[in-house]
């Protein structure tokens, strides 16, 4: 801790900070372009130049690039008073020898660092009258729009894309004043973090193409801090809307969860709310009615069917939504569940119970090594970005996976030996072989043998891909590392943004209870909120479809379940409502609506209309409920408090431990997903258009194809799902034969299927199919 002065203003600094960094922290309006808090200093733009006053008699003052200058006690800088201002004017004038004068039509205008800095540096009049150098714009897919002429060559984009996010399909081309930033080919980016180019770019070179199609001046947007509803990390975002529609999503800066960035799923996936087929009005039997009429109708149904009612929510919905729906269910003497599928519920609860000192994103970034189990990028992209910081720092990252994942591609490139590819049914055994206490080489790889005592390891698992035995194996592995005097943090990426909150509630409202009641025909009226039991939950729910006489769907996407609903109610999205979400760490995070969407309802609205509880009473009751349930006093919703996951979920890792079938004569179904493929984000048109996998195809390793005697001329039929309980379910895909595509990154003995394909064939994720149940069909023609 020390202090220096800028134009006589005192600036405090921490050791290791540079002058610019400390000045910005102190709130000084210091100009800069290429410096970025997360990306560090480059020294390229020369905008942060200040004049350093001499310390000794007879010395001259000198120009200093403050982002490269370590802060030192007692130094005195001139920002506006010295010749630095003159220099910055010059720098901006040089930029303007190339930068177009297209501010009136630029998306960035008004929210542009170049504009701000131009004004701040007092540059006004341009003396360069020559021809401006121009560049070809490059089409960069449906998400990002490139206007190459606007580039001021601050290198932030490649420093983010390559150096920070470890992408390799975008870079800097040519040199001198021909330098330009592009991809080797036209088309969308491979990185799940490409949208951050929009934010790190200080000009309008990279702009949000989705926003561009429904552009609003940024200062006219309704904005608020919100929580991203697309994975269990729960990043802080700032959605901006206007005139009843979402226009764009930005990361909300400097929060405890995500300091600077968000992933493309969070940024572009939230636009599911703008899908053309989003239900925005109530319907009764296909006829559009006003909300009040629909609510009256529903109240009527629920009153008449009291005692035979089930309400099904999903881990994609927040705690308030669950509580409101649970209240309604109880009022009408019905059952409620926040989970659609018992398997997901069990795995989520077990993962939370087995978490140990769950690492935050910052914990991950600063660890000394990591083990990743499952397709992390595709489940919780921001966790992956944190792991990439470890890789960048040269730390060892081991990876065990069954389906293709981008993180594995990155690890494989440098350390193919750190990739362990295997079917999930073998994971428990493989994880046990990582045991650090094994001395002999043949017993296992003995990971992290060369880490010193006291170093910290992160273990991250993808809960939905792991059976509970392999989660236990990870938990045991922690103990083994701790015995070696290493610190270990174990966390899981969960399915659903509010998976933790949902699992907390599901102790009281288990999904199996609701599902069994439906199967036993005790329930014939089902209200569904945010869930898709007859679409992606088909493996469990489709056999029970015929027992449901009345189906009410309260949702904001046009899901397969909504399409067969008797009554439809339009649900507000997270950006459009108030709520509470609990992330994978157990962090309790409240959010408020960012913009207004007329005509949509919240679950609390429903509770008021159907059971007469006022919003104020509801929130008060909810607050007390959460305090009781979590044991937290003085509960806050600002993200500073975490649940004690261990006590909260104690005992829930033992339930439903299925014995693992390691039968060699079987194959295992694994989910094939991508970073834009989550429940809601898959309805975002622009994002969904770059989905890398095809539906109704089976992806498998060449060795598996060989073993099954499959080739380009054959198709594969999966047969009857073995885990569909009593009634075999009649799925369209059951009798359908699917072509295959070979992929080296699918583990041997695995069949990787997209969600849509899984839904067609009716198999659960990780279902094991005996080989003799498969049939190979010759391709016709």
């Amino acid at each position: 801790m020390g202090k220096f002065y800028i134009d006589d203003q005192e600036v405090n600094f921490e050791p290791g900070q540079n002058v610019l960094q400390a000045a910005l922290k102190a709130g000084i309006n210091a100009p800069y372009f290429c410096y970025h808090e997360a990306l560090g200093s480059a020294g390229a733009c020369r905008m942060c130049t200040m004049e350093l006053e001499p310390t000794k008699e007879g010395e001259n003052s000198r120009l200093v690039v403050t982002c490269l200058q370590a802060a030192q006690d007692g130094q005195r800088y001139r920002l506006n008073k010295g010749i630095g201002d003159h220099v910055r004017q010059g720098v901006v004038e040089y930029y303007m020898t190339r930068h177009p004068h297209d501010c009136p039509v630029c998306d960035e205008a008004g929210d542009c660092q170049l504009q701000d800095m131009t004004i701040l540096s007092h540059h006004t009049y341009r003396r360069f009258k020559g021809a401006k150098r121009t560049y070809m714009d490059q089409p960069m897919g449906p998400l990002i729009y490139n206007t190459a002429n606007r580039c001021i060559t601050c290198y932030r984009c490649t420093r983010f894309y390559q150096d920070y996010a470890l992408g390799d399909d975008f870079g800097v081309y040519a040199s001198g004043n021909r330098t330009t930033f592009r991809r080797s080919e036209e088309g969308h980016f491979d990185s799940p973090f490409s949208g951050n180019l929009i934010d790190v770019c200080p000009t309008g070179t990279f702009t949000d193409k989705v926003f561009r199609r429904k552009f609003s001046r940024t200062w006219q947007l309704e904005k608020n801090e919100s929580i991203c509803g697309h994975c269990s990390v729960g990043c802080h975002t700032e959605p901006g809307g206007r005139d009843n529609s979402l226009r764009r999503v930005h990361p909300f800066p400097n929060t405890k969860v995500n300091a600077h960035f968000i992933c493309d799923r969070g940024r572009f996936g939230e636009h599911f709310s703008e899908a053309n087929d989003r239900p925005l009005s109530a319907q009764i039997n296909g006829v559009v009615v006003d909300n009040q009429k629909a609510l009256d109708h529903i109240k009527d149904i629920l009153t008449k069917s009291a005692g035979r009612i089930g309400i099904l929510s999903s881990p994609d919905e927040d705690v308030s939504c669950h509580y409101a729906l649970a209240n309604i269910a109880e009022h009408f003497n019905g059952l409620f569940s926040p989970f659609v599928m018992p398997q997901t519920e069990d795995r989520t609860a077990a993962a939370l119970a087995l978490s140990r000192n769950t690492p935050s994103l910052t914990d991950i970034e600063t660890a000394d090594g990591a083990i990743i189990v499952g397709a992390l990028t595709e489940t919780a992209p921001m966790m992956d970005l944190a792991v990439r910081q470890l890789i960048k720092a040269g730390k060892t990252v081991h990876m065990l996976h069954a389906s293709p994942t981008l993180l594995a591609d990155i690890v494989r490139k440098q350390h193919p030996d750190q990739i362990h590819q295997a079917a999930p049914k073998n994971w428990a055994q493989i994880i046990s072989s990582f045991d650090a206490s094994h001395e002999a080489e043949e017993m296992g790889p003995n990971l992290f043998a060369n880490l010193d005592t006291g170093k910290r390891i992160i273990i991250l698992g993808v809960a939905v891909e792991m059976d509970i035995a392999s989660m236990h194996a990870l938990h045991d592995l922690c103990q083994a590392f701790e015995n070696k005097q290493l610190t270990v943090q174990l966390g899981f990426a969960l399915n659903g943004a509010n998976a933790t909150g949902s699992a907390m509630i599901s102790a009281q409202y288990p999904s199996k209870q609701l599902l069994d009641a439906v199967r036993k025909k005790e329930i014939d009226t089902l209200m569904v909120c945010g869930a898709d039991p007859f679409g992606f939950g088909a493996a469990d729910w489709l056999p029970a479809r015929e027992h449901i006489k009345q189906l009410i769907v309260f949702d904001n996407v046009n899901s397969p379940t909504l399409q067969i609903a008797d009554v439809i109610l339009p649900h507000a999205t997270w950006s459009e409502r108030r709520g509470i979400s609990i992330n994978y760490e157990g962090r309790i995070q409240g959010f408020n609506h960012a913009y207004q969407r007329a005509g949509t309802l919240t679950a609390v609205n429903l509770a008021t209309a159907l059971i007469g509880i006022s919003a104020n009473n509801f929130y008060e009751q909810q607050h007390n409920n959460i305090e009781t349930l979590t044991g937290l006093n003085e509960l806050h919703y600002n993200g500073c408090q975490c649940l004690n996951l261990h006590t909260q979920f104690e005992g829930r890792a033992e339930a439903n431990q299925v014995s693992i079938d390691t039968n060699k004569d079987s194959v295992q179904v694994v989910r094939l997903t991508w970073h834009g493929g989550s429940n809601k984000a898959s309805y975002a048109t622009a994002l969904a258009s770059i989905k890398p996998w095809k539906d109704n195809i089976i992806y498998l390793h060449p060795d598996t194809a060989k073993r099954l005697q499959l080739n380009a001329e054959t198709k594969l039929k999966l047969g009857n799902p073995t885990n569909a309980n009593d009634n075999p379910i009649n799925r369209s895909g059951m009798d359908q034969a699917f072509p295959i595509i070979l992929n080296d990154n699918v583990a041997v003995d695995c069949l990787a299927l997209t969600r849509t394909t899984l839904h067609h064939v009716g198999h659960l994720v990780n279902a094991i199919i005996p080989i003799d149940k498969l049939s190979i069909i010759a391709k016709e023609g």
Binding site: S41, G43, A44, C45, R46, M47, T49, R62, L63, V65, L68, H86, V87, G90, V91, E93, Y94, Y95, T97, R98, R127, F128, G130, R133, I152, T153, Y155, V172, A174, S175, G176, N177, R178, T179
Partner: protein, 434 residues
Amino acid sequence: MDKILSRNFHHPHPLNIDEYQQAGGYRSLDSIIGQPRKELLATLKNSGLRGCGGAGFSTGLKWSFKAPDAPHPVYLVVNLDEAEPGSFKDRQVLYRDPHTIIEGVIASSYILEADKAFIFIRGEYRKGAQGLEAAVNEAKAAGLLGYNIRNSGWNLEIDVHLSAGRYICGEETALLNAIEGYRANPRAKPPFPIAKGLWGSPTIVNNVETICHVPFILHKGIEWFQNQGTNGAYGSHIFQVSGPVKNPGFFELPLGTTAREIIYEHAGGLLEGRELIGFLPGGASTQFMLPKDLDIPMHWDGPPTVGARLGTGGIIVMDDSLCPIDFMINLMQFFTRESCGFCTPCRDGLPFVKYQLEKFETGEADMTDIDTLRELCDIIYPNTFCAFAPGALMPIKSGMDKFETLFHQHIDNHGCTHPSHTPSTDAINNKVDC
């Protein structure tokens, strides 16, 4: 004066290792390898050898910054990325006597305890690089390189690295990026390469001519070395003269020889009927010197007395066949094209400078443009990431001072009235990528 670097140049072909050793080559290593490094370094420091790449920093002092307990590997990087217009001294040694380079590298690496030496050669000198590589293989076969050299317990490998072009690679940190397989943008200093260079290891970067001097200084002694210079300077230097002179070429002469002697005696003076207007003393990125400065001794402290610097000692003669502003535009064309594009003042400022200069040539300039040009130079000069742009502006700044009336004449005459004047070469400048 004894010829050192060019002592074997009279042979029709580069000497092979046997011929080289017969001519006394590698004998210096007898008095170096196995000797205490500290003493050798002290000798070097006291000899007054200064870096021949253009900066003229004391070599011994620079090497003494290497921490004695610096972790291994230690790298020596020999800068043979000679691309400074008007300079061709390193080329001569490379093409005519590669073993001299290897002898220098072995001696220098021994002092520095370097484990590996990279000789970084510009891509345009590929033929020379091949000759050097063949020589390295000879030296390896002769046991001069490799494991436990002369039972000293010290190992050395030499890597001949062929660069793929670009002037900026000669900047020492850009050169490190180039070796590592990155775009050759300079790196921020500190950390200096001597602390953290190639792959984070201590790395010493020196010009090849400097390296070649080292074994001779250690072998023949300080007194001998210091006697090689004249007018108060030490050692010899390969001066080069190009431009409209009768005998353009390179001449190994005592450091401190006057410009007059170099141009008029060794290079034969200007072509018939030509008049000397000025000259750049050491490559394109040095300041102009005028005919009145001809008697200034060409050593590190000579040219600075008239606001110039010795640079590489590659004298570029400017005569009356060309307009000095055209001369400067050509220099700026070179520098704008070769800017690596990393920092703003260089990338976008230098083309602006060139544009300003061209205004004088085309007659679009008025009096305010002189101020604008000066202001551009003043802002860019102290505010760039590396020394490239300051170097680029040295001839412009000094040209504006020394040929000021000429700028006024161009304004008054609405353009260049010099008989040689032709439109600018911009069309070429915009079309260089292949």
